[in-house]
């Protein structure tokens, strides 16, 4: 049982800052903030438990907490929705967890300059409910749309399913206020005023403070893009007899040049097999179907009509079989929820067991997709052969770039893991496999992560290799901004910034 290491005096100070009802030191409050949905070593749960949890209600409170943490050299871990898949919100060194969920208000809706300013604990689905009567959406639309929160979107620099058309989190967040690792409150953005979308004044700090997994501060307020609710939506699914046919078609759709194109998704044979495990989740296709491509268009009615015609032409030319309207409306509409179905877990002999979901999210160049796919499946097969607790749930590739969705793809291999079986040996094998998966991505000129971040055990070892000299800059920035290494320590190998010979 992990003992609470914070002194009573320190807890009292937290209470003075955040209020009695917003400070938790009970075991259940702490254990339930130790993990996120990615595979977790259940057998080592107590290594990741925070010492105390606070639910602050203002930037000032967070600033005070961070200053206190610096004074006492106690780690601070920011947590928003707790849905991140790279363990960003998992406390590696215990400490104080700053959970921002209670800061979930809409602060300003500016229909004229088209921005909405919110606190970091608001969820996008809830935000969109409020925007709907005004005819707007906030189109940051990850598969975790109903459960991730704005603060976590910024902390991870997330990817949106309709990012091809509307941009991803970094394109949709205009500016934000954050508490720096030493407690100062600053605002960073694209420039000047908090609502300016493009500026060349000074360093472009917005990007630096996005996707840092809570290692450079805690976002307390964000000004977001408002987008007119699209008049029309079109989606289509095509079936192909082979992966390569589907891959070529994906390229054709993505390079079509249609500005309405929100995204193209390529499902491989393994993914179809996974979805076929439950005939309700996927409208059954004949066995001859080995790969599927889905695409979606959004925009004004006249634009969508014209580009839909173009897509239908391309689809036909690619030799694909149009799968009908039912799947377009049904499957595409429920795309958020199809990811982790623990009940689809199968042991080697076909027994149904509840499995957790690991989701790889590398950025892979279009040209490299077929080769990477083969290598990744081989890694998954190796795991399954050794331990009858891993299961290959297949691959997706999604267009990745905002507004130019043709060059690289968010490439996902999903691996089911029967977590009740974890022991040190299987965990070590898993970490090795993750490192191998990441290595393949790098060998093919890609990136370890398109959106989740790459600070999980295994893959993180390759981050210095991926970033090269950039990793040295990262360390220098970290040490400069967080001299006491209190902000989410242990992530991204950043402890190296504090070693003797560090820059």
């Amino acid at each position: 049982m992990p003992t609470v290491t914070l002194s009573d005096a320190l807890l009292d100070e937290l209470v003075q800052i955040c209020g009695e009802e917003h400070v938790f030191a009970g075991a259940a409050a702490r254990f339930n903030r130790a993990r996120v949905p990615s595979p977790f070593p259940v057998h080592r749960w107590d290594e990741f438990v925070p010492d105390a949890v606070v639910l602050p209600t203002s930037a000032e409170q967070i600033s005070e907490v961070v200053k206190l943490a610096n004074r006492e050299r106690v780690p601070v871990v920011p947590r928003a929705g707790g849905t991140g898949l790279t363990d960003g919100a998992v406390p590696l060194r215990h400490g104080i967890m700053v959970d921002v969920k209670l800061m979930n208000r809409i602060l300003e809706l500016d229909l004229e300059d088209r921005t909405v300013t919110v606190q970091p604990g608001i969820n996008m689905l809830k935000l969109s409910e409020e925007l709907k009567p005004h005819g707007f959406i906030y189109p940051d639309n990850p598969a975790s749309y109903p459960c991730s929160l704005v603060g976590g979107r910024i902390g991870t620099s997330g990817w949106s399913l309709i990012g091809g058309r509307y941009g991803h989190t970094r394109d949709l967040v205009i500016s934000f206020e954050l508490v720096l690792p030493t407690g100062e409150i600053v605002r960073v953005g694209d420039g000047g005023g908090p609502k300016v979308r493009k500026s060349s004044s000074g360093y472009q700090l917005k990007h630096l403070f996005m996707g840092h997994q809570g290692t450079l501060g805690i976002v307390t307020e964000a000004t977001l893009e408002l987008v007119k609710r699209p008049e029309a939506e079109f989606s289509a699914f095509y079936a192909y007899p082979s992966y390569l046919d589907a891959w070529r078609a994906t390229g054709d759709f993505a390079r079509s040049g249609a500005a309405t194109l929100a995204g193209v998704v390529l499902f491989d044979e393994w993914k179809l097999a996974y979805l076929r495990r439950d005939d309700e989740a996927y409208i059954p296709q004949p066995e001859s179907v080995k790969a599927v491509v889905a695409l979606a268009l959004y925009g004004n009615d006249d634009e969508v009509r014209a580009s839909a015609k173009r897509m239908l032409r391309l689809g036909k030319a690619s030799g694909g079989t149009y799968l009908g309207d039912e799947i377009s409306q049904g499957d595409w509409a429920s795309r958020h929820d199809r990811y982790a179905t623990p009940l689809h877990g199968r042991t080697r002999d076909g027994q149904v067991v509840p499995m957790s979901w690991h989701c790889e999210d590398a950025s892979i160049l279009y040209s490299q997709l077929p080769a990477v796919r083969e290598k990744w499946h081989a890694i998954a097969a190796g795991l399954r052969e050794r331990f009858d607790m891993f299961d290959d749930w297949g691959m997706f590739a999604y267009t990745n770039g905002a507004f130019k969705p043709w060059g690289d793809y968010l490439t996902e291999i999903d691996i089911g893991i029967w977590e009740m079986q974890w022991d040190d040996e299987s965990w070590a094998a898993w970490v090795d496999a993750k490192r191998e998966i990441a290595r393949v991505a790098l060998e093919h000129g890609g990136s370890i992560s398109a959106c989740h971040g790459s600070c999980r055990e295994g893959e993180v070892d390759l981050v210095p290799e991926e970033l090269g000299g950039g990793f040295e800059v990262m360390k220098a920035v970290k040490r400069a901004l967080d001299p006491n290494n209190v902000m989410n320590p242990g992530k991204y190998l950043l402890d190296r910034a504090y070693e003797e010979d560090a820059p």
């Binding site: 339930n32 949905p37 849905t83 689905l125 459960c147 439950d278 309700e280 929820d337 179905t341 957790s356």
Partner: protein, 407 residues
Amino acid sequence: MATREVGSEGGDGALTEQFVAEWRNAAYNCYSSGHKFCREVCPVMQVTRDEAHTPTAFHANVVAMEQGHLSIEDVARDYVHCTQCGACELRCPNTLFTGDFYRFRTRTVDLVKAVRALAVESGVHQPGWQRWNELTDERKNEPVLNGTPVSQEHVADWADGLGLPVGGETVLFCDCEAAFYRTSLPRAVARILQAAGVEFGLMREQWCCGGPAAEMGYVDQARRFAEHNVADWRAVGAKRILVLDPHDYISFTEDYPRFFGDDYDFEIVLVVELVAELLREGKLTLSAPVDRVATYHDACRLNKRKGIYEAPREILRAIPGLTFKDVDHVTQWSYCSGAGAGLSIERPDLTAEISRRRVERAKRLEVDTLVSACVWSERPLSEQGESQDVEVVDLMELVAQAAGLEL
């Protein structure tokens, strides 16, 4: 609360072990997902924003108990934060998408009830609930009148002057809140049924249905009350039970069959569904205009637990003069009054805030009336309605008015 506790090994180890054995597979099904799709739909979570009050935590705690990290003492208080509305179960992809295929359903409500029962059995009590159930046990009905004691002597006072017989094939079960507090509701129901020519009587001795006790974990008491009521039904020759409150409807269609198995052969009829049928068959006509602009509050136990959302709307559309501004039943998955499952006893502050938000949503539709079909929701909603200038009425009260019936 900044109380400092570290997981203890207290409580009855054997009880916990038995509980964990029963729930571990279900718990792992959620634990393995852990994606929290259910979080924002939860009415309590929308207010507290506390991750320990989510279905994710409710399931993960079982895993943590199995691993020896948490004990019932550590977690019992968190499970107070649930109205057992069922929204999270509907929103859970494991139920939504693959449930039918695997004959699986995420059963968060049952889990919450089971943990509360484990707490009570292990001697971990919530003071408000303990007192509530003691008083109910003493008086046979819930202490809904605060200072004023309720008693068997007065359980049928609401029916004064209505000339209702005792017993018969069809018996109307009147919820405690309706019998002692919002008596306009049972009177409206009785008048409507009489007007439509439905023959029915009352019980000889109507005790609380036992549902609240079951919801708070006092399972033995719930069963004793159920046994009494069933014995009373049999004694008066009842075969068909009319139910005017959704909470009772859950007790009679879920708890009682579990207690009594095949011996339980009563037909349980929800008054709202019966009235919709009477209207359809022309046995009841509504001709007195009701000059109101109203929206309907989907009672959680009807909409989310039982899938009953059509009948109330059908009735509202049949009321002349009424302008009905509907909000669809799926949107209302995330709505609640906060009154259910004892939350209002242990956390009245949360009930009030949940109700305030519900009324605020109604207010935005520019209505003057919020219609409910759940008597338990009506007290907290009315309290909030007063300050927001929205009147809260029961659907049956409106029907009685539209049928020109005097209460």
